[in-house]
């Protein structure tokens, strides 16, 4: 029984949790956090079970209300959706453990709405991942987006403005997607993904299809923050509560990337999107510009969360580059980077959260030796994640770059290769800037406070972050090493089976 229902389970769990938490928030506030953890833990184990299931008995399809697709809505558990759902569940679980301390600190009194909306966000993400229907996907895209605006808007003073901007841009993206979907329906007469993929070869000359795929890609590109559609991202990540960002940053953009991969390679087909209408080439080149732009902007930032935001723009570019190469190796690189970057950026934002919890800010210019002296474990995690971002083996980040480098050489695309290499060095510049500060810069007592560095006002952290903040941070850091060492297993067992047959 559970096997047949597997694709629909996780979204339903989160949806139920969201309602229960909202109810509990009215009378029994103490129930809120345990409920959230419980739901996430269940979803985590279901995701693990799903992954096991799909590897052993193949794709599972669930029909809502028993209606047969393409009339009814279909949920599909295939290697790709199971993989992405696993990433979502793992990151969500780690961040939720971290939330026990960081949410009361940053969002005192708003715990119940926070967790209710968070469950809605995760419901949206998982709905997007599992649905086999483009219109149903739009519904979940909106659920996730609206929840996302709410989570961003909960933060500090400037966060409502950032959330509003996010909302405008996000709605614009959703509208583009919906408009494109209408064209797609016009050209194919179907909304079911599997159905459309069968129809595409017969209508591939139809110009309406070009319009459809362009509009849908632009819409999803905004959600994914592909350069130059990333405008909403830096402010949203900077001003949102760090615990929200730790959930949105690793997952939100990745989910959009997942939809693009699903749409381009599994529905339209690699032949169509790279030959008939080479939209992947456009994505590739924009991503390459985004990698350089994001890295350079990150170098100039003085606030950790903002730096990480620009770094994310660059890192999303790697995924876009992999999509742009439209080859098996490129797709391996892109999908692997979805996983690796989710863990890296979650770890880094948790570090930012730990800093906020102990020092109340994360201004890079104030960092000095006392930070790593008082918070050695937090910065050990930061160091591992930073080395992974730079791409030092055997961390996970190295191997995403390795597959992408193989893909660029395979495609004789030397400019893309050069960009991968240069961006590694740019990453090194801004991450070593921080490492140098926290490990080497003398503490405030030996350096007189000046106007430019108000060290006297900020005495620095007094002690290490508490255990419930530290454990998820260190777990993610360890995971970065494990994912790196065992990347071949992940690629062979999980990613190779999911590649479209035509590749």
């Amino acid at each position: 029984m559970i096997t047949q229902n597997a694709p629909a389970l996780i979204p339903v769990i989160y949806l139920a949790a969201s309602i229960l938490i909202a109810l509990a928030g009215m009378r029994r506030k103490w129930l809120v956090y345990p409920l959230a953890v419980f739901a996430t833990a269940i979803a985590f184990s279901v995701a693990g079970f799903n992954l096991f299931l799909v590897l052993h008995s193949g794709t599972v399809s669930y029909r809502f209300g028993g209606w047969i697709p393409p009339i009814g809505i279909e949920y599909v558990l295939d290697p790709l959706s199971a993989f992405v759902a696993m990433v979502v569940a793992a990151v969500a679980f780690a961040v939720l453990i971290h939330s026990r301390r960081s949410v009361p600190l940053e969002l005192a009194g708003k715990e119940a709405p926070y967790y209710a909306v968070l469950m809605l966000l995760l419901c949206g993400f998982n709905g997007i991942v599992f649905t086999g229907d483009f219109f149903n996907l739009y519904v979940f895209l909106e659920i996730a987006s609206l929840a996302g605006y709410g989570l961003v808007g909960l933060g500090e003073k400037r966060s409502p403005v950032a959330a509003f901007r996010y909302l405008i841009m996000g709605s614009l993206g959703a509208s583009f997607y919906l408009l494109g979907l209408a064209f797609l329906y016009m050209a194919t007469g179907s909304l079911n993904m599997a159905d459309i993929s069968r129809i595409i070869p017969y209508v591939s000359g139809n110009p309406v299809l070009f319009v459809a795929v362009s509009l849908m890609t632009i819409g999803l590109g905004i959600k994914m923050a592909i350069f130059p559609l990333h405008g909403w991202l830096p402010d949203a990540y900077t001003y949102a509560p760090s615990t929200s960002v730790a959930m949105i940053a690793p997952l939100g953009t990745k989910i959009a990337a997942y939809v693009i991969i699903r749409m381009l390679f599994y529905v339209f087909g690699v032949h169509y999107v790279s030959r008939d209408f080479p939209i992947t080439t456009v994505i590739g080149w924009l991503s390459v510009i985004g990698i350089i732009y994001g890295s350079i902007m990150a170098m100039t930032q003085t606030e950790l969360k903002r730096m990480l935001a620009y770094s994310s723009v660059a890192q999303i570019g790697y995924i876009g580059m992999g999509i742009g190469l439209a080859s098996p190796l490129g797709l391996i690189g892109a999908v692997l980077h979805v996983l690796n970057h989710a863990f890296m950026i979650a770890c880094l934002f948790l570090v930012a959260g730990n800093l906020r919890a102990r020092v109340g800010h994360s201004n890079i210019s104030d960092f000095n030796k006392s930070y790593c002296k008082k918070m050695p474990w937090t910065f050990a995690a930061f160091t591992i994640a930073a080395l992974s971002m730079i791409g030092i083996p055997p961390t996970a980040g190295f191997f995403s770059k390795w597959y992408l480098a193989l893909a660029t050489i395979d495609a004789n695309n030397w400019i893309f290769l050069a960009v991968i290499l240069i961006s590694s060095l740019l990453n090194a510049v801004y991450f070593f800037n921080i490492l140098e500060r926290v490990y080497l810069r003398p503490a405030a007592s030996t350096v007189p406070a000046t106007l430019s560095s108000p060290t006297a006002a900020n005495p620095g952290p007094q002690r290490e972050a508490s255990l419930s903040l530290l454990v998820p941070t260190l777990t993610l850091a360890t995971a970065i090493l494990v994912l790196g060492l065992f990347n071949a297993v992940i690629v062979k067992k999980l990613i190779l089976p999911m590649l479209p047959v035509v590749m």
Binding site: P393, A405, I409, L417, L440, F486, L496
Partner: protein, 500 residues
């Protein structure tokens, strides 16, 4: 001799990991310096023992192999203790024991801060170095190469002064750039060949190349390895990095890190490209020109350095290129001579750096111009220094002579006279920049040296041992470790035929 028998053994893995296991022990015993240093010495001896246990097999043509896991589909993280690997590993791990002993004297003598970090990073560096030595394929090599880059960084910036931090930045700029070039080269090789396993005589068999492709690939490798090998014009991080504590300069910046660079050059020339391909596309000429120019220019630059460690650094740059030159000549004797140079230069240069450190700790003098008459205060130290200086100039019976002799023979085999001229000129320049130091120390009247004597035994004993080793290996290059036999074996396996 060429028949190689493979057998599975975990010894290479243990040899890599043993010093890594020491890191938590070192960190945990940070409050008990004696215990902490005991761990370092203990794993140093264990590591050396493990490496030595591979030697008899190698001499019989048996190679220990261990495959750990796939790190990319079709590419394994694998270790292989072949002759070249064991050769390099013996030098690095053997000298680590002496350096650790010396470090204790040096760091305590100067009352340095953060000694725990220092010893921990040193242990990681040695793990990475042995990993480089035993890497069975290019990707494994890259993994350890990058780990070495990062692990050596805290040692470069150890003093945490402004100069040290800026030296650290320069070091990272150079080595990380090199790292990405090497990764690109490795990825490209994999796409061309589908196989990254090192093989004597090269792996590109039966593949036709355009001249542009192969030259570009070679330059990528040269850029990636040339930074650590300090081939000009990408050498300048090395003199700057002399701001590090002297034991770091001695072991890492004269033996482990920089030799990892030239070791990589030998690997790529002999075990990736192979002699035929190198000759066919004139790649050996490119390498020889860079190496030859580096030897002469670095020796000339060494002449005008007043800071003793910087002078030695330029001398290191020149001698590293001896190895590259030997590989570039592609004749049996030159190849063996180049490999011998990895060993001979190691014992001589580490002696000189040990002496420089002893002088710094005891007399607080860093510059050549301040060394007048110090042999009166430190006769043993300066005696050891003299051995190293004579050896670097290529004068028998010190072992520097042996490597130069075979390099010279190899040039004759190749029918080239320019390398011989380079060897002669560089020998003279060696005399030019090292013997004035001896003249000052032994012959000039001393300044105020009252109450100053030799360094502590922890420093003095290692430097006397390395000086003695330099002489002993000069008298019998096959003593203890069969360096000569292994060098010949490697050369024959790559180039075929006999040595002479």
């Amino acid at each position: 001799m060429n028949i190689v028998e493979m057998y599975t053994s975990s010894v290479p893995l243990y040899a890599v990991l043993v010093s890594l296991l020491a890191v938590p022990l070192i960190l945990a015993s940070s409050r008990y310096p004696n215990l902490r240093e005991f761990w370092t010495i203990l794993v140093g001896i264990a590591k050396f023992g493990l490496v030595l246990s591979l030697l008899p097999g190698v001499l019989e043509g048996r190679v220990a192999v261990i495959r750990l896991m796939e790190i990319s589909p079709g590419i394994e993280l694998a270790l292989k203790a072949d002759a070249l690997g064991v050769f390099f590993a013996i030098i690095a791990s053997g000298l680590w024991i002496l350096t650790s002993l010396y470090s204790i004297g040096y760091m305590r003598g100067l009352n340095e801060h953060k000694q725990t970090r220092y010893f921990a990073c040193f242990a990681v560096c040695l793990s990475a170095t042995i990993g480089i030595a035993f890497a069975a394929n290019l990707l494994t090599f890259v993994v350890f190469y990058e780990i070495l880059t990062i692990a050596a960084y805290p040692l470069v910036i150890h003093k945490e002064t402004r100069a040290a931090i800026s030296a650290g930045r320069k070091y990272l700029l150079y080595t990380l750039t090199a790292g990405v070039l090497l990764i690109a080269a490795t990825a490209w090789t994999y796409q061309i060949n589908g196989n990254l396993d090192f093989k004597p005589g090269g792996i590109f068999t039966g593949i036709s190349f355009s001249s542009g492709t192969i030259t570009a690939l070679f330059f990528l490798f040269l850029g990636g390895l040339g930074v650590k090998a300090a081939i000009m014009p990408i050498h300048s991080w090395l003199p700057t990095a002399m701001v590090a504590p002297t034991p770091v300069s001695a072991l890492l910046h004269a033996v482990a890190v920089v030799k990892a660079g030239v070791f990589g050059v030998v690997r790529v020339v002999g075990f990736v490209f192979g002699p035929e391909l190198m000759r066919e596309f004139g790649l050996n000429t490119i390498l020889a020109v860079f190496a030859g120019a580096t030897i002469i220019l670095a020796s000339l630059l060494a002449l005008k350095q007043d800071n003793l460690k910087r002078r030695l650094a330029y001398s290191t740059i020149a001698h590293l290129s001896y190895v590259a030159l030997g590989a570039a000549l592609l004749t049996p004797a030159a190849f063996a001579g180049g490999i011998m140079c990895i060993a001979t230069h190691a014992t001589m240069k580490i002696t000189l750096f040990f002496c420089a450190g002893a002088i710094y700790v005891n007399l607080h003098k860093e510059n050549v111009s301040e060394l007048d008459g110090i042999a009166k205060a430190m006769p043993w130290t300066m005696g050891a220094f003299a051995v190293g200086a004579v050896g670097l100039a290529g004068i028998p019976p010190v072992n520097g002579f042996i490597s130069k002799w075979y390099l010279g023979l190899g040039s004759l085999q190749a029918g080239e006279w320019i390398p011989i001229a380079i060897l002669v000129i560089s020998g003279l320049l060696n005399i030019g920049y090292l013997f004035p130091i001896l003249y000052r120390a032994f012959c000039k009247p001393a300044g105020n040296l009252h109450g100053k004597g030799e360094a502590s035994p922890a420093m003095l004993i290692p430097l006397i041992i390395t000086a003695l080793l330099s002489i002993l290996f000069g008298l019998n290059p096959d003593l203890f470790f069969h360096f000569y036999r292994m060098a010949v074996q490697i050369s024959v396996s790559v180039l075929g035929g006999g040595i002479l």
